[in-house]
């Protein structure tokens, strides 16, 4: 007979409760998107709809240009991801491997900039973009996010854990800095670069405030703005709001499910050993 260890059981019970609390809103969002209007507003609330109203999704696409929102969001998130990844890769490399005058000074400046919250500079950024005539353009949407000190720092600590003699060895072997970056640094830091790319893509996908400021045309809106506009456009049709929200979250959810391992590995950072 195996003894039941009550401590373990209690632990699992607590875990399950918290898991339910965390996951419930997502589940309800998905289910609510398949309910009729009456079911979403009934008291006591319905959890499982009687009929799955798949038609809600068709209505969503009919009422707002969601395809366009998807396209816009995908384009801006991809551009910011690729460019900021490239920039932080080069910046972090320079900070870790190159010796130059004023390096410490620059490092301190960057570090203090990291402490400035984005909201503080958002209006200055807005003014800049507006004066450049970039409102309602893709460039205006992505420009402030093409570099990221945070990602640079993240990569810097990643690169810093690679032995400095690897760089020296490459120098003696005759490699240029450019060759070192692409043939050694990047393949050795796949996990970190992947994490940065993913984080950048997700935050690009979820961006709300900035696109709200610099776009006012429907054709330039991103998903989240579209969603909030849709919520008021759709009036009280809560089931359509939930269906639209599900659509917005779905791609990120899929990304998470596919790259679960890499995300965890990137956060734990144990793939540099061996």
């Amino acid at each position: 007979m195996k003894r039941i260890r009550w401590g373990v059981v209690l632990g699992y019970i607590i875990l399950v409760i918290f898991a339910i609390i965390t996951v419930f809103p997502f589940i309800y969002m998905i289910l609510g998107g398949l309910m009729s209007f009456q079911e979403t507003t009934s008291i006591p609330p319905t959890i499982i709809p009687k009929h799955f109203e798949w038609g809600n999704y068709a209505k969503v696409f009919a009422q707002a240009p969601f395809a366009r929102y998807f396209f816009n969001t995908f384009v801006t998130a991809s551009i910011t991801t690729i460019v900021s990844l490239f920039n932080s890769l080069l910046g972090a490399f320079a900070m870790v491997n190159l010796q130059f005058k004023g390096k410490r000074f620059i490092q301190i400046i960057l570090l203090s900039l990291l402490m400035v919250p984005g909201e503080v500079i958002i209006f200055t950024n807005y003014n800049t973009i507006a004066r450049m005539g970039l409102l309602n353009t893709y460039i205006g949407l992505v420009l402030p996010f093409l570099t990221s000190i945070f990602y640079m720092y993240y990569l810097q600590s990643y690169f810093g854990s690679i032995s400095s003699t690897i760089y020296k060895a490459a120098m003696i072997d005759g490699a240029s800095d450019w060759e070192y970056i692409w043939k050694i640094l990047v393949p050795m830091s796949k996990g970190g670069l992947f994490t940065v790319g993913l984080l950048s893509f997700i935050s690009g996908w979820n961006s709300f405030l900035w696109p709200l400021l610099v776009t006012n045309e429907d054709s330039m809106r991103l998903l989240n703005n579209g969603l909030s506009a849709f919520a008021s456009d759709a009036g009280s049709e809560t089931q359509l709001q939930l269906a639209a929200a599900t659509l917005t979250v779905l791609p990120i959810l899929i990304l998470y499910l596919i790259f679960r391992k890499q995300i965890i590995r990137g956060v734990v950072r144990n793939d540099l050993k061996g």
């Binding site: 003699t165 020296k168 060895a169 072997d173 043939k183 050795m188």
Partner: protein
């Protein structure tokens, strides 16, 4: 240019940004094809010198000539050197073959893949790692990684090979084997090699000559046996030799050299070995444990405190004037712990140092 000074270091100095003076006016030269060991305790500046030779650090002042040409302003990749790092620094994401090929597929000396592969395979064969070509470095043992690192350092056919404590991550038995292999390999290739180590035994066994550093200064630049027979100073005499040399505080006075429990007539010493006239005063008398042996007519009575077995021989430990000293005797010598014996030293093998370390006899 002369092959006698294939590598020449002139008045090299290195002061780090924090003010630490790692190298103080070092000059030496290396003959073409020689294997020279840079020996010294940790922190003596030997790795700094290797890094400066490689161009990974720049000297504060002084000059370095390879084959008669100054390379101080030359980038590491243009110095025609190979470098073996203490931690090997293999590229972990590449196979052994790719690691060895790397110097041939980057930079100015880029070669077509097929040609690079051919050259890499030649050096892998030389380093006996041909059968590991497709392995990743983390699947290899320390000794195998070592060989990959050497093959990678040699594949670009450098003129000079620099090795920074290449054996320190290996276990004792493997170290013996690999160091012989390294020596025969670099001799086969005929490459001029500088080999940094803190292990005197390694230096003595592998080096054509040894340069002993301490505190950023060359203590002795000589053939291996001379470190035993003719140490330049007190530091050298104490650094080289295992078991370590015995030191006795002595006073020269009245034509005699007097220690606490023995004395020697200055006239009994080999007068030719005196480096200069020495005035009366305090000195240190040093003698290697193999040159101070039990003898019924010996002048130094001692009490054996302890005996340590080191293979074929035993070390008798005794105390004299508050300091432990040793005598190296045969395994079968009939002496036990607690015995009172007499020791006699070979007068032509003792050294006399002034209190600040200068050797005078």
């Amino acid at each position: 240019m002369g092959n006698d000074k294939f590598v020449e270091v002139k008045n090299l100095k290195k002061v780090y940004n924090n003010g630490h003076e790692a190298i103080k006016d070092v000059s030496f030269s290396v003959k073409k094809g020689d294997l020279v060991c840079l020996l010294g305790p940790s922190g003596c500046g030997k790795t700094t010198i290797l890094n400066i030779l490689a161009g990974l650090l720049s000297p504060t002042s002084g000059d370095i000539l390879f084959d008669g040409k100054s390379v101080v302003k030359t980038a590491p990749k243009d110095r025609h050197i190979g470098y073996v790092f203490q931690n090997y620094s293999l590229y972990p994401h590449m196979s052994v073959l790719q690691n060895v090929m790397f110097p041939l597929v980057v930079g100015k000396n880029k070669k077509p893949k097929a040609e690079a592969k051919k050259i890499a395979e030649k050096y892998m064969k030389l380093a006996q790692i041909s059968d590991l070509a497709d392995q990743r470095p983390h699947n290899l043992s320390g000794g195998q990684q070592q060989r990959v690192a050497i093959a990678r350092a040699l594949v670009g056919e450098p003129k000079i090979l620099l090795m920074d404590e290449p054996l320190s991550n290996l276990d004792a038995r493997l170290r013996l084997k690999i160091r012989e292999e390294i020596r025969s390999l670099v001799k086969e290739v005929g490459i001029t090699t500088l080999f940094v180590t803190h292990d005197q035994e390694e230096a003595l066994s592998i080096g054509d000559k040894i340069i002993l550093f301490n505190d950023g200064v060359i203590q002795q630049d000589d053939l291996g046996q001379n470190f035993y027979l003719k140490p330049n100073n007190y530091f050298v005499a104490n650094f080289v030799g295992n078991p370590v040399i015995d030191n006795f505080k002595v006073k020269k006075d009245d034509g005699k050299i007097k220690a606490k429990d023995f004395e020697i007539n200055v006239d009994d010493l080999d007068q030719d070995r005196f480096k200069r006239e020495i005035p009366d005063g305090d000195y240190i008398l040093s003698v290697r444990p193999e040159n101070i042996l039990p003898d019924e007519n010996g002048g130094l009575p001692v009490h054996v405190d302890d005996i340590e077995l080191i293979g074929r021989e035993r070390i008798l430990k005794f105390e004299h004037d508050g300091k432990q000293a040793r005598s190296l005797v045969d395994l079968e010598a009939p002496i036990k712990v607690g015995d009172d014996i007499k020791l006699k030293m070979r007068l032509d093998r003792i050294f006399l140092f002034t209190p600040d370390g200068e050797r005078v006899y």
